[in-house]
């Protein structure tokens, strides 16, 4: 598992490629500032890797708001355009209610662990 990119001030972003899946582990508070970083870093990694699946591990995300959701939705749109997909993993008590309320979970699959997500994909 090679590390593709790591960036971040507000969120720590850790990425690696496993097969054709780009695994991105986010950590911190996914608000306006972090969403901007996330967008930039993940777009770069997607361009470089040619990944077909984007797995976003949210288990270390302690906060998300509509700006953070927007950044996830934006990546979902990009992947959909190129027949790829986005999978969410491990959203906790502070994040899951927001994902549900926004309706995002009706279009993006969510698994409890990376293992389950990779097995299902």
């Amino acid at each position: 598992m090679a590390e593709v990119a790591k960036g971040g001030t507000a969120v720590a972003i850790e990425q690696h490629l496993t097969g054709r899946t780009l695994v991105v582990r986010l950590q911190g508070e996914l608000d306006l500032v972090a969403a901007e970083e996330f967008r930039r870093e993940v777009e770069k990694a997607l361009d470089q890797s040619g990944a077909r699946t984007l797995l976003l591990n949210l288990s270390q995300v302690s906060f998300i708001d509509s700006s953070g959701l927007g950044a996830i939705l934006g990546r979902y749109r990009r992947m959909s355009q190129q027949q790829g997909r986005v999978i969410l993993v491990g959203a906790g008590a502070a994040v899951l209610p927001i994902l549900e309320l926004s309706g995002l979970l009706r279009i993006i699959a969510h698994y409890e662990t990376e293992h389950q997500a990779l097995a299902a994909s």
Binding site: L32, F63, S66
Partner: protein
């Protein structure tokens, strides 16, 4: 409401300050008897209101955002005010998925509305926008959140 505590925070409308407001208000709210889940909801509401002032209010460069809050031990009031361009049609702006920015979700007001007990939006084009939110907590002497966190972790 017999005010027990107040705070006022003034910041320029730049993205980095959304977190400053959220953390300050989160700490202020934790003085009341809110659950951890309710504190998370309050943080989202603050984040949305301040983000709106940052993203929408000042197209010509960051102006001031003033966040005030007060509580009487039972009810929390949070007010976010900018002197920006304002909103022409508030009812429309509050609709789910309505956004003037194609990159955004149009869920800011929806979240403020869902997560707080009361939401009031006053705006005059060219004058600015004031968002006032209220949330009540359970009666009780002590904030719950710390105790919850304690029992969630305590092993012995």
């Amino acid at each position: 409401m017999e005010v027990r505590n107040t705070m006022q925070l003034e910041i320029p409308a730049v993205p980095e300050n959304v977190g400053v407001a959220r953390l300050a208000l989160g700490s202020f709210a934790s003085q009341l008897n809110f659950t951890l889940a309710e504190l998370d909801e309050i943080k989202v509401a603050v984040s949305e209101a301040v983000t709106n002032s940052v993203v929408h209010a000042y197209p010509e460069g960051p102006g001031p955002v003033v966040v005030t809050a007060e509580h009487d031990g039972r009810e929390l009031m949070i007010r976010v005010r900018d002197s920006g361009k304002g909103i022409a049609d508030v009812a429309q702006a509050r609709q789910p998925s309505f956004s003037t920015d194609p990159e955004r979700m149009g869920l800011g007001f929806v979240f403020m509305d869902s997560f707080m007990d009361q939401l009031e939006v006053e705006s005059r084009p060219g004058q600015g926008t004031t968002v006032t939110m209220r949330k009540r907590c359970q009666a009780g002497q002590q904030p719950q959140a710390a105790a919850e966190e304690g029992s969630a972790r305590s092993g012995g």
